[in-house]
């Protein structure tokens, strides 16, 4: 690493290799080896939220649809931790129940994206040649549609059920996931242990599953976190536009309900709490994904476009 002239570095990078043989440990590299305390805080938050979502039916919280759990538009108080909304429903409970939809979309969208995009990318990267070109073109075309536009197209055609929403958000994820899987596959396939395996007579399928797949999963894991964050945001956006699930409610729907001018004026908490919870969740996922990416030092990652 060069002597850095205009910036001061907190961790000493060692002097220029051409004149000093540095026996110092590179500070920043050491920093990346630990996954960090923040990572576990983020994971902790996620666990909390997921547990709350799963256990919602048995938690001692008021029924989210029950009006009159408090007065109308009550500010946060001891009875209603997050206050109440225009219909007097308890916000805290609604936030927890809303998370079920948001998290479900996030989770299944990613599952779908990986289930389709992963094999797509691996096969494309592994076989190269015509197969690759063909699949790459499909991936490329998927990239041609801006995310939300594609989502709107699909929803307009297939309706607004939970399954469709999951599918939609998932489809948007297929392209970036496939692209990453392909890139990793290509670089992995050139390594020695794959050649070794081939010499030993493994079939293509076997190689793909036993050699390539494990190498692909790790960076994909990091991408999964980031992807889930985006999926939750995506669902929120759709909900905001009134295009998410018709029945039930999610964080996005709650935010939009609370964002009418008058509601904001009198009771900003109606949308602010869902915003806050969503923000913390998305940030945790982003941070965790980031840390994982640094930790495993994956370079080719990037989630393109909207």
């Amino acid at each position: 690493m060069r002597l850095n002239l205009m910036t001061r570095r907190r961790g000493f990078r060692g002097l220029s290799p051409q004149d000093e043989d540095s026996s110092l440990i590179d500070d920043e590299r050491k920093e990346k080896r630990k996954i960090g305390f923040g990572f576990w805080v983020a994971i902790g938050w996620m666990v909390l939220v997921i547990m709350a979502a799963l256990l919602a039916p048995i938690l001692p919280i008021p029924d989210p649809d029950q009006t009159g759990a408090g007065g109308r538009l009550d500010a946060p108080n001891w009875d209603n931790w997050f206050g109440t909304d225009t219909n007097g429903r308890d916000m805290f409970s609604r936030t927890i129940w809303g998370s079920r939809v948001s998290l479900t979309v996030g989770f299944f969208a990613i599952v779908f994206g990986f289930a389709v995009g992963g094999p797509l990318g691996i096969v494309a990267g592994f076989f190269k040649g015509a197969t690759d070109k063909f699949l790459s073109i499909i991936i490329f075309i998927l990239f041609a549609f801006p995310g939300l536009v594609l989502a709107l197209l699909i929803i307009s055609l297939l309706g607004q059920t939970l399954a469709v929403v999951c599918l939609t958000v998932g489809v948007i994820g297929v392209a970036p996931i496939a692209r990453l899987a392909r890139a990793i596959t290509i670089s992995t396939a050139e390594r020695e242990f794959v050649a070794a395996s081939r010499i030993l007579g493994s079939t293509n399928r076997r190689i793909m599953i036993r050699e390539i797949l494990p190498n692909v999963t790790i960076p994909m894991g990091a991408l999964a976190f980031l992807g889930m964050a985006l999926a939750i945001v995506g669902e929120g956006g759709l909900a905001f536009l009134g295009l998410s699930v018709e029945e039930g409610f999610s964080w996005g729907k709650m935010i939009v309900l609370g964002s009418a001018s008058r509601t904001l004026q009198k009771a900003p908490w109606v949308s602010m709490f869902p915003i806050g919870v969503m923000f913390l969740t998305v940030m945790s996922l982003n941070y965790a994904g980031d840390r994982l990416r640094d930790f495993f030092d994956v370079r080719e990652m990037g989630i393109g476009g909207g």
């Binding site: 002097l15 004149d19 500070d27």
Partner: protein, 361 residues
């Protein structure tokens, strides 16, 4: 003008890091007369490049400098503090090891030469370009007009280094510092570049500091040589004097012995100097080279030898220099015990000792 062009006295440079203070240059002094050249020789970590960068005000903000540096009577540290604008790059310039990375890949060659002229010498764009073309001719590049419009990656390594030299010379400096200018080049090209530097230097009456790890590069070229190790000056003499005796200092002797020669049979192994480079954090007791030196005595491990004038104009920092009574005695003592006071087995010196005057360990 009278007096030396460059005068460095007791220069200490260290870097503040989280692990502590890293000593890069530990008490270096030398003078350079106008029109003369000096070669600074040392391995990685010897402090030679840092010395150069200190002169050129290219150190990062966490560097600490002590001592005095004067150029033509002007205090360089003052100039740096005042952020003098038209000094570096004009009176004193530097070229680096790798010409590919020294040049901005997205800018045309001509532009990069013309830049200094426009900034420092107030030339217009057109004037600067014309002069740039002249400079290219001076450094021996054919078809200068065509080259001006090319990008660095379109030129070969040797041509690129010539361009770098042209840039350095553009404002007519009185001192040129060349840090390993040929290390990144093909062997055949190396000689051309070094000859070019020599020629230009003599033409312009320029002083030059040539930094290298390879004694062979400075042999017969520079007027003087300074050998550095562990941030200190180990030996300083005129080039002729140094090579006459193959070096007074054990380190110089070792360097000399390890130069691959054209007449060694092929497939002969390269000879390393036994031991490993010195630690850079914290203080070192005694001579930094002692752990690797076959002439060392216990005194060497505790007392830093001062730079002493052994003969007329020939300085050496060693308790037991090569060829002196102390040196001979020390070596014999080590031969008897079978190892140096630092614990290095004398047998390790077998490989290189054959190339020295002593012929054996």
């Amino acid at each position: 003008m009278t007096g030396p062009l460059v005068s460095i006295e007791d220069l200490h440079v260290s870097f503040l890091t989280e692990q502590g203070s890293v000593r890069a240059v530990d008490g270096v002094s030398f003078d350079l007369e106008p029109g003369k050249s000096i070669g600074i020789v040392g391995e990685s970590g010897s402090g030679k490049s840092v010395t150069a960068k200190t002169l050129m005000n290219l150190l990062p903000s966490y560097a600490q400098v002590k001592g005095s540096m004067k150029f033509d009577g002007r205090d360089l540290r003052e100039l740096a503090r005042k952020k003098e604008k038209h000094f570096w790059g004009v009176e004193m310039t530097m070229i680096f090891q790798d010409p590919m990375t020294s040049l901005n890949p997205v800018k045309r060659v001509g532009e990069q030469i013309a830049e200094s002229l426009r900034v420092h010498m107030n030339r217009s764009r057109r004037e600067a370009m014309t002069e740039a073309g002249d400079l290219l001719e001076q450094v021996g590049i054919p078809e200068p007009g065509k080259r001006l419009r090319q990008y660095p990656h379109e030129l070969s390594g040797g041509l690129r280094q010539r361009v770098v030299i042209a840039i350095a010379l553009s404002c007519g400096p009185r001192l040129l510092i060349a840090d390993e200018p040929t290390t990144a080049l093909d062997v055949t090209v190396q000689k051309h570049i070094l000859d070019l530097l020599d020629g230009l230097r003599k033409e312009r009456g320029m002083s030059m500091i040539l930094i290298t790890h390879d004694l062979g590069v400075v042999k017969g070229r520079t007027d003087e040589i300074m050998v550095m190790y562990g941030g200190r000056t180990m030996e300083e003499a005129s080039t002729s004097a140094l090579f006459e005796c193959d070096g007074l200092h054990p380190y110089t002797e070792a360097l000399n012995a390890t130069i691959p020669r054209i007449d060694t049979p092929s497939h002969t192994r390269l000879v390393p100097i036994p031991g490993k480079p010195p630690e850079v954090i914290g203080r070192i007791e005694g001579c930094p080279f002692a752990p690797r030196c076959r002439y060392s005595t216990s005194e060497c491990l505790t007392e830093m030898p001062p730079l002493v004038e052994q003969e007329q104009g020939h300085f050496c920092a060693c308790h037991n220099p090569v060829g002196t009574p102390e040196g001979i005695k020390a070596r014999e003592a080590n031969q008897n015990t079978g190892h140096t006071p630092a614990g290095l087995d004398m047998k390790e010196f077998e490989a290189f000792a054959v190339h020295t005057e002593t012929g054996e360990i």
